[in-house]
Amino acid sequence: MGELPAFPAMEERYAFHTWPDGCAVFDRFSGDTHILDTFSAVLFLSGLQVSPAVIEKLRLPVISDENLSSRLDDARRRLEKLKLPAAPPS
């Protein structure tokens, strides 16, 4: 019997494309496409440990610190719902 199609490693699992206001993600394991807003995109891409230059292209709105943390919590929940990885909370 031949090889079972391999489970791709995390860093090979996703193709993505970013614009200033978010990013599109293609999951090679499930065939699903996801659209992420800027906050979710930042968390997701940091989780994949992509180069900072990629993340810098996203334009995050300027908001207060307490708003920022609640927005990040929302983004984390969204990623969880989509079963996408996120950078661990710092």
Binding site: M1, G2, E3, L4, F29, S30, G31
Partner: protein, 362 residues
């Protein structure tokens, strides 16, 4: 015409390298035949593997590229879909035996090359089928558009649940508890098949053992009411036996023994006959003699099957192939259910067709 069109298709799929010798007019026929027989992707991927795509006439190439794209997608998609099914059923803790295309793809078998898929078929223990149905429904599958009659018919007589459709993706899973209906003349023991199945590295999936997979493919092929995918299934069989025989020297001895054990010798006999006849598959003498039957019966079958295997395409359709197709439809149903039930079932099908047509008129 009939003979030569069949030969063109068979030669090209069997020996893709010969495709470079075909002229445009032959391609015009070949692409249409291959599409109709559901073999165009196998042809395209064969040509790709033989590395001759760029030597073919320019107008032909886009069609083969399109067919390859479709085949690659379907191979990926069936794996994605199978994984979704696995997620839905993993909590039940039972082995999910993949059948047909999903099994070929997940086990990485040669038979998966260029194959186009319809549904994902799975085999589960009969005693757990209600739990499987419930778990699938919980995860977004529902019984598709089946009327009350069909639903009762499936549940009472068939070896499977009515097809279940995923609401989000529109994909279909067929849940079987046996490989043949309860009404069929031979009903093999599903327990034996499950017991011999092999676990894949990706839980909870299993596949049938090599011999059982071949026997199932043959049984399915010759129990089908229609041979629309007859040639494609025959190519599947060819790929399976070749790959297994290469990996296991005792394969040709154990295969007929297993068929006898499962009371499914006759489909294997037919499979051998038509593999040799159509595809020139090399099958050892001793394997053939262990499942032999009388020459008279064999030639009777040929009248039915030979034209039926050719694609149902205007290029191939003669009166004989039309007749053979009608006979096959009846025969497929005869094998699956007792005659009295059959007449009732066919009568109802014909009635529904008429009725539905009428309700569509405006």
């Amino acid at each position: 015409m009939t003979q030569s069109c069949g030969k063109l298709l068979l030669d090209a799929v069997r020996t893709p390298a010969m495709a470079v010798t075909l002229d445009l007019r032959s391609w015009d026929d070949l692409l249409r035949l291959a599409r109709r027989a559901n073999l165009i992707s196998r042809l395209a991927e064969g040509i790709d593997q033989a590395g001759v795509l760029n030597k073919l006439p320019a107008p032909v190439r886009p069609h083969l590229i399109a067919a390859s794209a479709l085949a690659q997608h379907q191979r990926r998609a069936v794996i994605w879909e199978t994984r979704h099914i696995g997620t839905a059923l993993s909590a039940l803790g039972i082995p999910i035996v993949l059948l047909k295309g999903a099994a070929y793809s997940m086990a990485g078998l040669q038979a998966a090359t260029g194959r186009l898929y319809g549904d994902v078929d799975i085999l589960v223990p009969a005693t757990r089928i209600n739990e499987v149905e419930a778990a699938l429904m919980l995860h977004g599958w529902s019984a598709g558009h089946v009327d009350a009659y069909d639903n009762r018919y499936y549940r009472r007589w068939m070896h499977e649940l009515p097809p279940m459709v995923n609401i989000k993706r529109g994909t279909v899973v067929d849940v079987h508890h046996n490989i043949l209906p309860l009404t069929a003349r031979n009903h093999p023991s599903a327990e034996k098949l499950l017991a011999a199945s092999l676990a894949l590295p990706e839980a909870p999936f299993h596949v049938l053992s090599p011999c059982d997979m071949v026997i199932h493919c043959a049984t399915h092929l010759f129990h089908e009411g229609e041979l629309n995918n007859g040639l494609r299934d025959l190519f599947d069989l060819d790929a399976l036996v070749q790959e297994y025989a290469e990996n296991d020297a005792s394969f040709w001895t154990t295969l007929p023994e297993r068929a006898k054990e499962l009371d499914l010798e006759w489909p294997l006999r037919l499979a051998f006959r038509y593999l040799e006849r159509f595809l020139g598959t090399r099958i050892p003498e001793q394997a053939k003699t262990s499942v032999k039957q009388s020459p008279i019966l064999a030639s009777l079958r040929d009248v039915m099957y030979l034209p039926g295997f050719l694609p149902d395409h205007p290029l191939c359709s003669g009166y004989r192939s039309f007749l053979a197709r009608g006979l096959l439809y009846l025969r497929g149903h005869y094998l699956r259910m007792p005659l009295r039930l059959l007449a009732w079932h066919l009568g109802r099908k014909a009635f529904i067709r008429l009725y539905k047509n009428k309700s569509r008129s405006c």
